[in-house]
Symmetry: C2
């Protein structure tokens, strides 16, 4: 039996952050199919593992704990698996970086595809807020000693949750949407290098091989992914 | 000089969660005006107190720490002010409740007013997802022993960050949009009672008097608040 069960759509997107943490810490997990996910989502709230709205949902079998909401799942795993900083400021900064990553996902996908991209709005986003987000990550890393070829987001000795979240965000986005690679490299060169280093470790390369095999070239999925690709191919 | 500086718009909304924590823990804070907020937002990321996109931003003067992103600010304050649970599971549950609260704010405001409400979509939201959110909070409290007239969201002895976040969400929303009171009472009666108890303590009643004086009847502000009120008044 696997250590954890991850209920998440067959896509990278938010689930990939959780997969990265589990792979990096040497844990095993299984992923139920879509019917199981929609089944647990649709139950009466009192019959759910914990009352929750939408995936990701993670069950820690050894400790009989269920947790939902990507930032809360990462907080739970980060603390219990020993990759959270040990001081309140850097712990909060880790939460801040995760919230920023979540905002970037929301903004690129227009909040889960609530509307489709139109050319003028995409151009504005890709020349203003998206590079600004990349600069925010870069400045955060730089403030804590991140170098082009070494170091971590928050100056820790070993890669922590903030590094894994940062790497998952920018590496996965540019691997699946390679037209964004230059934007990220130009606005966040140290972060791009960190993301490449982190995601190239044996554990994370193997996790990516597995998800690439399962999900192909998909990133967020749905009509909004088609809309993003339409914008990128038209550039 | 105040203990903290809170950069947030002259509105309850996300800022009210931070005000509630500071008031509950007996701290003082000042709130710079809109020009100061837009000034710090617009700076080059390397010249900001910490690189960030948008308010809330909090500066802790005693410890010389700046933090942004509402969930990360609450995590920082919760930990450093001693209102975070002392075990990893309930700490993660606190993060989960805060993320849920943040999602409720996003959904009611259609992600910061990215589109306006139309009648059919509002009716669907107000009869499906919004009551479901209320039920999620109620089931969470009930699972940890919350009673109609006593107890806390996570079964702690004293009110913690999860209680303050829950109370701020549902009390403020129904105080400013009273048409939603019945929906919340019917789907989350214990949470509604908890919210009333918490927000009626001397410290929090005084905080509310102050923000009511400063912000009047506003909740999230902007065109989207007008759109929400149009839906509610048409019911």
């Amino acid at each position: 039996m696997a250590d954890y069960t991850l209920y998440y759509w067959p896509l990278p997107f938010r689930g990939q952050f959780i997969r990265a943490v589990l792979a990096h810490t040497g844990k095993t997990w299984d992923e139920p199919d879509i019917d199981a996910i929609t089944g647990v989502m649709g139950r009466d709230v009192d019959d759910q593992p914990l009352p929750f709205m939408a995936p990701p949902l993670v069950v820690d079998h050894a400790n009989d704990v269920a947790m939902a909401q990507m930032p809360a799942v990462l907080a739970y795993l980060g603390t219990s698996l020993g990759i959270m900083p040990d001081d309140p400021e850097r712990t909060a900064l880790t939460h801040k970086i995760i919230a920023d990553a979540n905002d970037v996902l929301d903004e690129v996908t227009r909040f889960g595809g609530r509307s489709m991209w139109i050319r003028e709005e995409w151009e504005s986003f890709a020349s203003d807020r998206l590079p600004r987000w990349a600069q925010i990550f870069e400045a955060t890393g730089r403030a804590h000693g991140l170098q082009a070829d070494s170091g971590h987001m928050l100056g820790t000795d070993a890669p922590g949750l903030a590094d894994l979240a940062t790497a998952t965000l920018w590496f996965t986005m540019t691997a699946k949407l390679p037209e964004l690679t230059d934007l990220v490299r130009e606005n966040a060169p140290r972060v791009a290098a960190l993301a490449h280093r982190i995601m190239s470790t044996e554990a994370l390369a193997q996790m990516r091989d597995d998800t690439d095999t399962r999900f192909g070239n998909a990133w967020c999925g749905g009509q909004i992914e088609a809309s993003i690709r339409e914008m990128l191919n038209g550039d």
